[in-house]
Symmetry: C2
Subunit: 359 residues, 2 copies
């Protein structure tokens, strides 16, 4: 049986080789005679896995030694509160750039912990766009500047890291390892795993050591970066299997040539799809070219009925997960690292066929 | 290759049939052609899995319809803060029974959210024991009474549910489904999965609907029971694979005969081991018989050197995870639901052999 091609926004498809290893080792991991999910999080074997996983992500992203790397539970949404609870203090300020639903949610969550400002918002005139940084209302007293480099709902991406005087906090859930971010430019990077890092259930948090400080007194211990750092993310039983799958996914990324290779593939995949969309009025993408996402390509068809028909016909052709987010509708093809060029080519062939039948 | 017998305190061993299904379905779950870890948490298939998992646990524990069942991330330790953040209000009270390290940790975490009292503490005269309920200093104004029915470190268990006028909150991480708790007697029950419910990464929270109320203003959205209830635990991407393994584990529990069958097996396994310990001075358990845990049997040998030797020799005989918790030392055999009687018999045979060689 051939596998369908999964364009879902996450949990996302995984490379077949990652699934093959997970399947082969499910009963007997590293000659323990046990599944990795049966092994103690404090065992020598698991501690080695944890250390190796950290080392892999440090190598792939070139993370300097003055950053901590944590593996936490609760998803990116947990970080929406954890970041301000750790980085803010009484009556302190933070700046947020709102480029879509995820940065908006992060902003909403953080408002209860400090004095927040929106430095700029995504604009929707002819096309979705982000105001030039020269127009942003930056607060020099902000404890941090927060943004979401890639917004998944409509596919809005800032390819270049803004130049900001205060520490930058970035939700890289949907773009980590997809291009060569310079970690040194950031204060905190976080990413839940279910797109480019494996399965849902674990979130990577990369935090500069100078940002560790006394959180608000009401902060749960599990939310205190200092406690998690001190305990090497093992303050409680960590999501061991999700960390294992991340380990496999990072090794796969490395084998493929690391971030430079991912970046090249992603550019090629996105170019193919956007180029096809742009050559036919039947399909329409609403994002200004310089802010188009490489990871999530959204587009519309002439009518909602055609969009619904498109999703059904695509699924029959084993092209899955193409329905846009419920809040925005339309079509969305997510092209995370595990998506192949052949997968995108199959989608484009299907789109051309569908267009010819319905245009 | 025969599997070793894993007496670890958690992540714990899983039934072979559960691992077999997980392995067989890893590439193709429910004819989706995808792994369950690649499927959207909002897909029809995963929603059905979530619903079925809830229904299974409702049936197994006979959970009345006025209780909500949640599947949350962050482990039991997250509940140590989440419970008081949801159940307490400004200057309100809560009662804690301290029977070991886990209830102590829960108490420590909750102190920042309210006025807490310790109603009684485990005593250690000749044997570890819990004062009679008649001696507990209960506060009638407490919002809730908190206890840990089974404490894993030394193996102290309260088999009977205390009779308390206020809602009871119980951390059942290490004893859920091991005996027939009457859910109606509880306000909140929580249990992380890595002992009797599958793999680490998901925590079941059973909460009476009358206990849902406005949490403290600084409570993270992810910690707000009302938000999780409203979103059927899908406020963000849930740990889908851990929920899938829990589903398999619950089906296995049902196939074995449900809680009555587990209870009988657990009593038999624990009796065999305690009975052996009690008949030989070489081994010593320090818990008063009426508070001995069925799940975690701790014991000492005449010297620390012999204990270290015991752990090494046992591992060579494929009896793993027997080292006591680092804070208390000694030996600990965890006999969760997936542990077989044959496994305990093998341990007893080894203990007898070791005793003969070293007594």
């Amino acid at each position: 049986m051939s596998r369908p091609i999964n364009f879902g926004a996450g949990p996302a498809m995984l490379p077949e080789s990652v699934l093959s290893i997970a399947q082969a080792e499910l009963f007997n991991w590293q000659n323990t005679g046990m599944s990795v999910m049966e092994v103690s999080h404090r065992s020598k074997q698991f501690m080695q896995l944890r250390d190796e996983t950290e080392e892999l992500i440090r190598q792939l992203m070139q993370i300097p030694s003055d950053y901590h790397v944590l593996f936490l539970a609760g998803g990116a949404r947990t970080q929406f509160a954890m970041v301000p609870m750790n980085l803010l203090a009484q009556n302190s300020h933070a700046d947020y750039l709102i480029t879509g639903a995820w940065s908006q949610s992060a902003y909403d969550e953080a408002t209860r912990y400090g004095k927040l400002s929106v430095v700029a918002r995504v604009t929707a005139e002819k096309l979705l766009s982000v105001p030039d940084q020269a127009q942003w209302q930056l607060n020099p007293k902000a404890r941090y500047f927060y943004y979401t480099p890639n917004e998944t709902l409509l596919g809005v991406e800032l390819a270049n890291t803004p130049k900001i005087a205060v520490p930058i906090v970035a939700d890289m859930t949907s773009c980590i390892l997809s291009r060569d971010y310079d970690v040194k430019k950031f204060g905190v990077i976080f990413a839940s795993a279910q797109k480019n890092l494996g399965q849902a259930g674990v979130t990577v948090v990369i935090v500069h050591k100078d940002l560790l400080s006394e959180p608000f007194s009401y902060t749960p211990s599990m939310f205190d970066y200092r406690i998690q750092v001190k305990n090497q993310s093992l303050y409680n039983t960590s999501p061991t299997y999700a960390i294992y799958i991340m380990n496999l996914m990072l090794k796969w990324t490395q084998q493929q040539g690391g971030v430079p290779s991912m970046m090249e593939n992603n550019a090629q995949k996105a170019h193919l799809l956007y180029n096809y969309i742009d050559t036919h009025h039947f399909y329409n993408n609403a994002v200004a070219p310089e802010y188009r996402s490489q990871m999530n390509v959204s587009f519309n068809l002439p009518t909602r009925e055609l969009e619904a028909e498109f999703v059904v016909a695509a699924a029959q052709a084993d092209l899955l997960g193409l329905k846009g987010h419920s809040s925005v509708g339309g079509i969305r093809a997510s092209l995370y690292n595990a998506m192949t060029l052949a997968g995108v080519e199959a989608l484009v062939r299907f789109m051309e066929q569908f267009r010819k039948q319905h245009a």
